[in-house]
Assembly symmetry: C2
Homo-oligomer: 269 residues x 2
Amino acid sequence: MIVQMEIVCIGNELLIGKTVNTNAQWLAKRATSLGITVKRITVVGDEVEEIANAVSEALHRKPRFIITTGGLGPTFDDKTLEGIAKALNRRLELNQKALQMIKEKYEEYAKAGKTKDAELTPHRVKMAILPEGAEPLPNPVGTAPGVIIKFEDTFLVALPGVPTEMEAIFDESVAVLLKKEAGEAMFFETSIYADGIMESTLAPLIDVAMHDNPYVYIKSHPRGEEKKPHIEIHLSTTANDSKTAKDRLGKTIIQLSELIQKKGGKVKV
Amino acid sequence: MIVQMEIVCIGNELLIGKTVNTNAQWLAKRATSLGITVKRITVVGDEVEEIANAVSEALHRKPRFIITTGGLGPTFDDKTLEGIAKALNRRLELNQKALQMIKEKYEEYAKAGKTKDAELTPHRVKMAILPEGAEPLPNPVGTAPGVIIKFEDTFLVALPGVPTEMEAIFDESVAVLLKKEAGEAMFFETSIYADGIMESTLAPLIDVAMHDNPYVYIKSHPRGEEKKPHIEIHLSTTANDSKTAKDRLGKTIIQLSELIQKKGGKVKV
């Protein structure tokens, strides 16, 4: 059974090209390795309406998981929870558990001399105002808690945009849930490299190899310059154990390598 | 007038986290600097239905530009033009102009000894099969042409996924069109850095500075570790000339720096 996930990244910095979306790549890689199929990544800006639309559209496609990144902090433009509340048509309310997490963090910071006081200012309390029915997820390395909400058959998880915080919450609270849903399935991948053959000459050979190895997905990525073709050939399969995966990938690599050599190309494993 | 653009990136490698989406960042940065407002970035896999849905949804939001990346090559999983044709409800047809571009490329490659023959195999001809009404855009550094299609008030531009090819076609054929539509407006940005102040303490200061400088957008990005706060403060504005932009940004930086210093923080410009 395929367990689907969508990623929604929130932040103007992504839309003006200031920031490369490494969060999406990290989450996609991690989820894929846990056996989850990422179907779509959406990036929108720091606007309630935009966030609500993106989340609402994702919910309509009924993936098992939606993970958002960004917009959970204390500033005026951290609007993700407002957008999610709007998409879910739920009220925002002060979540006591989240408030307690935030309170403890600032007390700890004040003790360590990192901030003058632990006062719960409106901008700090803001991070504890969650949609009804939400549960906060502890942030081991920052202040804004993550958030999880179940909506119909979808787990909606909101993570901060700061990569260290996003990764820490994911590893501590989210990965285990993904793995549980994905079951035994695991994603296996490897690459080989072909020189001296153009992608258009390689294309029909991939067709043959994929036809003969129906559980293996093969995709070519030209990596060289125009003058000197150099192609990465990425092979992947989803299987319940590594032996099956290795057998499948190995058999495909042997067949494809032979086909490439017959056409005058060189293969590096 | 705000000229809106959406980016649709196509490729399984993005959804499995194999590849960081530098194409989206490059396009977003370039378009923003030309005065265009990027509203959304969508990433989908190499499936006709997924591509058609993403393009169709983007068209419904009526941006002036949609730029797609990926899926124009000779392999079985290059399905972007099929997806676009489906979204537009147009037939695919052999485009003679595109075929001529491809023919000349392979003749050139064969002459240079890069490929054995210039034969127009089905996989090569495939790159010239475009939706009705499409115009090919020359690819200065590869074989697959870019594609431009006008649909109602939207320019739909399809670029290859190989970064050097995507960038070369954009610079040669697309940038001038974006600039023409954007008019005089230009995007200006700069960053300052604050140490010794937490983001939640900085947040109300940004509120004040943004209130007093309505044309400047300010966003804070925590860059330090939990133990040692270090925050990048990014300031941006859209203006018709650089003097106006510099005046706005300079005035805001002075005010915000004073506010941060009063709270015990240090500012580096």
